[in-house]
């Protein structure tokens, strides 16, 4: 059961990130509201993954700040992230889902219930006892999603979750994303698959060379992009 308060909107103010003198992101100001999935898109090296990690506090910004609504300390507990390459513990499928629930300090019965729910959601219940790392790539990514979903986060970050998956597995992941979004989880994800963004996005943040050039509802972004770079990107031209 989620408390009635919310950690959204998420705000980035003049966010910058540099490493070794290379400016990867600069001056990113962004407000992400509750609602349908927000997609971060843009050419390779635009800074999508770095922005996602800054928002999830895996990286410390070198300029600006990320802020959430609600009580301080609440935000960290109510977000989760799934990575491009799922990081699975060397344990069974079920133990992987239980692990973060125990870290979150949930009671045993609640952990079991949520883990079951998570595995049901992604259709891995039958494989609960299998070693997680022996699953196929698609199953591994679904397990990572089940594990994140079991935490019942208000915000779920997904970093190119389908980048190394075949079309069938990609479709399974997309269905899970839709199901999570439908139950009120705010999805914030990166992709290089424009078709996927068209299918799933509520709004689109277009990044180019470390800057946010556009942030608009998906429909208007795909119909009438405002910047030259976005037009070129959507046409499939090589932009950098």
């Amino acid at each position: 059961m989620r408390a009635p308060d919310t950690i959204l909107p998420l705000q980035a103010e003049s966010l910058g990130f540099a490493v070794g003198g290379v400016q990867i992101l600069r001056d990113v100001t962004l407000t992400i509201e509750a609602g349908p999935p927000t997609f971060l898109i843009g050419p390779n090296g635009a800074g999508k993954s770095v922005l996602l990690r800054l928002l999830h506090h895996l990286l410390i910004p070198t300029a600006g700040r990320v802020s959430w609504s609600g009580l301080p300390g609440e935000a960290a507990r109510r977000q989760a992230m799934v990575f491009q390459r799922p990081v699975l513990l060397r344990r069974s499928v079920l133990a992987n889902v239980l692990y973060p629930l125990r870290l979150a300090g949930l009671a045993r019965a609640e952990r079991a219930r949520r883990a079951q729910e998570g595995l049901d959601l992604v259709g891995l219940t039958a494989l609960a006892g299998r070693p997680a790392r022996r699953l196929s790539g698609g199953e591994q990514q679904r397990l990572a999603l089940a594990r994140a979903a079991a935490l019942q986060p208000e915000v779920l970050f997904l970093d190119e979750p389908c980048a190394s998956l075949d079309p069938t597995a990609t479709r399974a992941v997309e269905e899970i994303v839709v199901a999570l979004a439908a139950r009120g989880t705010k999805i914030i994800m990166t992709t290089h698959d424009l078709g996927q963004a068209r299918r799933l996005a509520g709004d689109v943040v277009f990044l180019h060379r470390g800057r946010v050039l556009e942030h608009s509802p998906a429909e208007s972004f795909f119909a009438e992009p405002e910047t030259r770079e976005a037009v070129a990107f959507l046409r499939g031209e090589l932009v950098w």
């Binding site: 999830h56 895996l58 960290a76 507990r77 989760a80 992230m81 990575f83 990081v87 513990l89 060397r90 344990r91 692990y99 973060p100 870290l103 979150a104 070693p131 790392r133 022996r134």
Partner: protein, 234 residues
């Protein structure tokens, strides 16, 4: 040549009939080395895991020292423990010198750095893989230590076996602090050294056979663990 053949056949008979002297020496060897591994594991494995996740000034220096200590000559380890436990030493009052307990301490001192250094290597790779995901779960380096120890369990068992191999095969440390007292602190390696110099080749050979068998079994076990780990880790 004839001597050798008759020594070998006597040795086989000693092993086959479970000669009480042989059995007693073998059992003490196992007891001392297994206890030493257990003690060293309790200290060395968490230490290695901490070194794998912690970032502090001087960390590289600690790792270099630890790696160097892997090559600590057993006689030097024995000498240091001897100095600690001898009557005039700081722990002399405990009266441990020339007891199996002293041998356990010496072997544990010898292999703790080995376990810590190997565990550090194994777990550092695991930590690199897990760090981001664990931080996303809200687990920092300290909380990661038990997770890494568990998830690295197969590799760490191999590390323990390496430690056991080293402990059971060394002679320098146990002979100094144990004294090779018959029926009390005599283990396989010290007995082999003594019996060989006394010319009692059958007993030395018999113990050598048992020692080799144990080493073989340990390596077979290590191989089995690697296979099991491959099944889990994929």
């Amino acid at each position: 040549m004839n001597d050798l053949a008759s020594a070998a056949s006597t040795a086989l008979r000693l092993v086959a009939t479970a000669d009480p002297t042989v059995v007693q020496v073998v059992l003490l060897s196992l007891r001392v080395s297994l206890t030493a591994v257990a003690v060293a594991a309790l200290i060395g494995l968490p230490l290695g895991a901490l070194l794998a996740v912690a970032r502090f000034p001087g960390r590289r220096g600690v790792i270099v020292v630890l790696n160097a200590l892997m090559g600590l000559p057993p006689v030097v380890a024995g000498l240091l423990i001897y100095l600690l436990l001898s009557r005039s030493g700081p722990l002399g009052g405990l009266g441990l010198l020339f007891t199996p307990a002293a041998m356990v301490i010496a072997q544990a001192a010898l292999i703790t750095p080995i376990l810590a250094a190997l565990a550090r290597q194994v777990l550092e790779g695991l930590w690199e893989e897990y760090a981001e995901q664990l931080r996303s779960f809200g687990a920092g380096p300290w909380r990661a230590v038990p997770t890494l120890l568990w998830d690295g369990r197969f590799a760490l068992l191999t590390v323990l076996l390496a430690g056991f191999g080293r402990a059971s095969a060394e002679v320098g440390a146990v002979i100094i602090v144990g004294g090779n007292i018959e029926g009390f602190t005599r283990v396989m390696t010290t007995a082999i050294a003594l019996e060989t110099s006394k010319g009692d080749l059958p007993l030395a050979l018999a113990l050598g056979l048992v020692l080799m068998t144990i080493v073989l079994a340990v390596n077979a076990l290590a191989q089995g663990l690697r296979d099991a780990s491959a099944r889990w880790a994929g």
